[in-house]
């Protein structure tokens, strides 16, 4: 067995903690001193450092940021559209309910509820329109074949 610490043990997993800066100052000093005197641990330390550096520089994903940005935009479109459809469907249901109610009673005054219903209806329509418009603009910007005439 090669050189070891005073306690007769190699530093083992503390090497990783040392490389990663996760040890206390005292433990880091102990590992540093040990590696200066223990060839085996010194070599392992260098190997682990080198591997860590290689991993840090490795290309483990070929998908760029644009992919994730588009994914997020797509998600936003879906969420906006969902809210739009919810408002739209809710407004339709309330409108139908209101019409039925209005037919059955003699009260024809414009109440706050009516204004909310109309607001929800038009709000839903507007959101749907903006959602579609936004998607079309993004597609137009990123479409490689937009200038190609058919």
């Amino acid at each position: 067995m090669s050189n070891e610490t005073n306690s007769g043990k190699h530093v083992g997993e503390s090497l990783s903690g040392f490389i990663d800066g996760e040890l206390t100052q005292q433990d880091a000093q102990r590992v540093r001193l040990h590696c200066e005197n223990c060839r085996e641990c010194g070599e392992q330390l260098e190997e682990l450092r080198s591997l860590r550096e290689r991993m840090g520089k490795a290309s483990l994903s070929d998908l760029g940021k644009d992919t994730w940005r588009e994914t997020m935009d797509d998600t936003t479109v879906k969420a906006t559209r969902g809210i739009g459809w919810f408002l739209f469907a809710g407004a339709i249901l309330l409108t139908v309910g209101f019409i039925i109610y209005d037919l059955l009673t003699d009260d024809h005054s414009m109440s706050l509820m009516q204004m909310l219903i109309i607001g929800g209806f038009y709000g839903g329509m507007l959101l749907l329109f903006l959602s579609v418009l936004r998607q079309r603009l993004i597609e137009r910007k990123s479409d490689k074949y937009k200038d190609v005439e058919i």
């Binding site: 997993e13 990783s16 994903s61 070929d62 997020m72 998600t75």
Partner: protein, 159 residues
């Protein structure tokens, strides 16, 4: 938050590849996780910690869900994608990545994940414990064993 999530996409994809074994399934998992993160962004509390471990844990959980639904197959990594750089540098990097890929493939999924989280995504031990849902005290020993295994495999493939 959106910009930060975009930045995390590549690393999350690398992690998902280690769990699911192929880039396409991994991209789907990250896509789903981005959608979930946006839906649940009100649940993220920046005072409790950075976004990175919060999002990566979500990605890992999504991958595990997909693995459960998938029929039992070999979970080895199909292929690590090639780098897109200048020809000479790309060749050198590709060669290095090829050896690293082979070495990584020889490890089990848990070992690959912890190495990617630390050495590729630069997470602290506390953050790794949060993502992997393990005791913080076990991260150093688990990571060290994984690195030693990777080093051994790398030497074998480099010969």
């Amino acid at each position: 938050m959106r910009q930060e999530l975009v930045q995390l996409g590549g690393g999350a994809h690398a992690l998902a590849i280690q769990i699911l074994g192929n880039p396409d399934d991994a991209a789907d998992a990250v896509h789903d996780s981005l959608a979930t993160a946006l839906e649940r962004q009100h649940m993220y509390d920046a005072r409790k910690g950075p976004l990175k471990p919060w999002f990566l844990r979500m990605v890992r959980n999504r991958c595990i869900d997909l693995l459960r639904k998938r029929k039992p197959t070999d979970d080895r990594v199909d292929e690590l994608p090639a780098a897109g750089k200048s020809p000479e540098k790309a060749a050198e990097d590709a060669d290095r990545d090829r050896i690293l890929k082979s070495a990584l493939e020889s490890l089990d999924s848990d070992q690959r994940q912890i190495i990617v989280l630390r050495d590729y995504m630069d997470l602290s031990y506390a953050q790794i414990a949060e993502v992997l849902d393990i005791a913080p005290g076990t991260v150093m020993s688990r990571l060290h064993r994984s690195r030693v295994a990777l080093g051994k495999a790398y030497r074998e493939y480099d010969e």
